[in-house]
């Protein structure tokens, strides 16, 4: 068993970055995720593993430092919260276009605009439908506990490098700020420069000994070549959709109604299904762990198994519910419930929503 600690989600994520053998972190302070860079600077990861931590002058600079660093084959990450992630979108699009494996973290807060600093899930569209320009996808992991804030860091890097695609950890202010017991994984070694040069031949870290030179770009002025590049990306996205869907099912086996919820909403909904079952209502929870790729197939299977209705519970005006509806394809009732602007719904409100919108409706 690994070391047990009581940590905030943001701190666990930062510690996990050091332990995962990350080479560089570039970030800019913004509530509610500033503990990430505060923890990293206090921990002196340069002494522990040689990891570089740099406070950039803006989120725009952070994401572009990440682009430069990631394009050399090193493990680079950044974290921010909603408005900062909006600022990064141009860079994210470049990174996706140039197929650079980096890890981003969004500790989501209420919006739009400056919004507030309370937990929210209103960046689902931005995350899964491409906040930046062009046809691209981010592999999106949604932790619902402090433990997963830690565990998803090495997982995000694994997936990012496996597919040469940016991955994003989509958390929220509550998961970032709350403390829970976390079992830390053992320190993983950082790759040496020689290992990186040998393993990632695409990376720009100085021409290879045989004279091969590498170019990292997202530009191709020839539309036919750019179409070809896009088709290659789409093929990769399809492969990810086929292989990397992650989800958790809780009490779905005998369920008549399913709540679909991720992150903090999944935790609240888990309590809600306990309360519903105490009332004799057979409810289950499907928790997407990957927001993209989305567990479309699993929802279809639940529809086929005779589920009577789905409630998508999100701290937003109803974003993920569109993907649930696409999966259900009109066969049974799908509704959304969620509080907005940083208000967190209570388990009791979720119970009431399921009773009124799905069972009674």
């Amino acid at each position: 068993m690994g070391e047990l600690r009581l940590m905030k989600g943001n701190e666990a994520l930062a510690e996990a970055a050091i332990r995962a053998g990350v080479d560089g972190y570039f970030g800019y302070p913004i509530t509610p995720q500033s503990e990430v860079i505060e923890y990293l600077t206090a921990e002196k990861p340069y002494e522990r593993t040689g990891m570089v931590v740099l406070q950039a002058e803006s989120e725009v600079a952070s994401i572009n430092m990440l682009y430069g660093a990631g394009a050399t084959g090193k493990k680079a990450m950044t974290s921010s919260s909603s408005p900062g992630i909006s600022l990064m979108q141009e860079g994210i699009s470049y990174i996706a276009g140039a197929e650079i494996p980096v890890v981003l973290v969004n500790v989501v807060r209420g919006g739009p605009g400056l919004g507030d600093i309370q937990p929210s899930q209103s960046d689902y569209f931005q995350t899964t439908k491409g906040g930046g320009h062009g046809d691209y996808r981010l592999i999106a992991l949604a932790p619902s506990s402090v433990q997963e804030m830690s565990d998803f860091v090495p997982l995000a890097f694994e997936l990012a490098f496996k597919y040469r695609n940016p991955a994003i950890i989509v958390s929220d202010g509550a998961i970032g700020q709350m403390m829970e017991k976390v079992e830390l994984f053992e320190q993983m070694p950082r790759m040496t420069d020689e290992e990186i040069r040998a393993k990632y031949k695409w990376a720009t870290n100085g021409k290879l000994e045989d004279g091969t030179r590498r170019i990292i770009t997202s530009l191709d002025l020839d539309p036919y070549k750019l179409e070809e590049h896009n088709l290659k990306l789409q093929k990769k996205y399809k492969e990810i959709e086929e292989n990397e869907v992650r989800y958790e099912k809780i009490m779905c086996d005998d369920a008549e109604y399913i709540i679909v919820a991720y992150g903090l909403s999944a935790r609240i909904s888990q309590k809600a299904i306990q309360l519903l079952r105490e009332k004799g209502i057979k409810a289950g929870l499907l928790r997407p762990i990957t927001l993209w790729p989305f567990p479309t197939k699993q929802i279809k299977e639940l529809v086929d198994s005779g589920i009577k209705g789905f409630l998508s519970v999100e701290m937003s005006a109803g974003q993920m519910v569109e993907d649930v509806k696409l999966a259900v394809n009109g066969k049974v009732k799908v509704e959304h419930f969620g509080r907005l602007g940083g208000v967190v719904h209570s388990p009791e409100e979720v119970v009431e929503a399921l009773e009124q919108k799905i069972i009674g409706g």
């Binding site: 560089g24 570039f26 430092m65 682009y67 430069g68 050399t72 720009t204 870290n205 290879l208 170019i215």
Partner: protein, 263 residues
Amino acid sequence: MAEINIQDIIKPENLVYKKTRLMTDKTLSYCPGCGHGTAHRLIMEVIEEMGKEHDTIGVAPVGCSVLAYEFMNIDMQEAAHGRAPALATGIKRLWPDKVVFTYQGDGDLAAIGTGETIHACNRGENIVIVFINNGIYGMTGGQMAPTTLVGMKTSTTPYGRDVAQMGNPLKITELVAQLPGTYYVTRQAVHTPAAVRKAKRAIRKAFENQVNKKPGLSFVEVVSNCNSGWKMTPVDANNWMEENMFPFYNLGDIKVDGKLIEK
């Protein structure tokens, strides 16, 4: 009469100049008379001469030189408009023993990327910035740049740059020279053989500073013409540059070994 081919004329003993192999064979996309090609070549010659071919990563963002990676035969990254110093920071921080440079135009470095430029200079990133200043946005068709001279006509200042409306041309090179993070700041040109020789020495000095881990960033501005943007012949453009650009953008070293040059 026997055919004579080029190999018969150019014998090794007659050779006085050879293109560096760190320039690709691809035909430059720049307008005839433009300074970009010369500036590219000087950088590549310096890297070859310093034996850093396998240890250099270049970053060229959006602008006429967005395709620099097609001509510079080394590992290259193409950045978003204005962000090259941030990419270079990311690379250099994780590969401190590699040679990292950016190649940026005036709109890129002194307008959209001002923040990244100032902060990379202020942090004293151990990189080289090569800054091509032709006082205009070349690639997008000749619009006003932050360095456009007062009264100069561009497609967005068709009656000449009006200070009351558009402010003064930005001497960003003098500005970054004031920052403690810059170690070497110079302004050069590449329009005559003499200027080319001087510019090469400056570029060499900048890269040597980096390789020798001198504390701070080395910044080389190259004042260049944009004959098509200025709507002049290449010769007229060079004359105009000497008469109008140089009096405002004075050539020469501004800061050497971390010390400002007294003028």
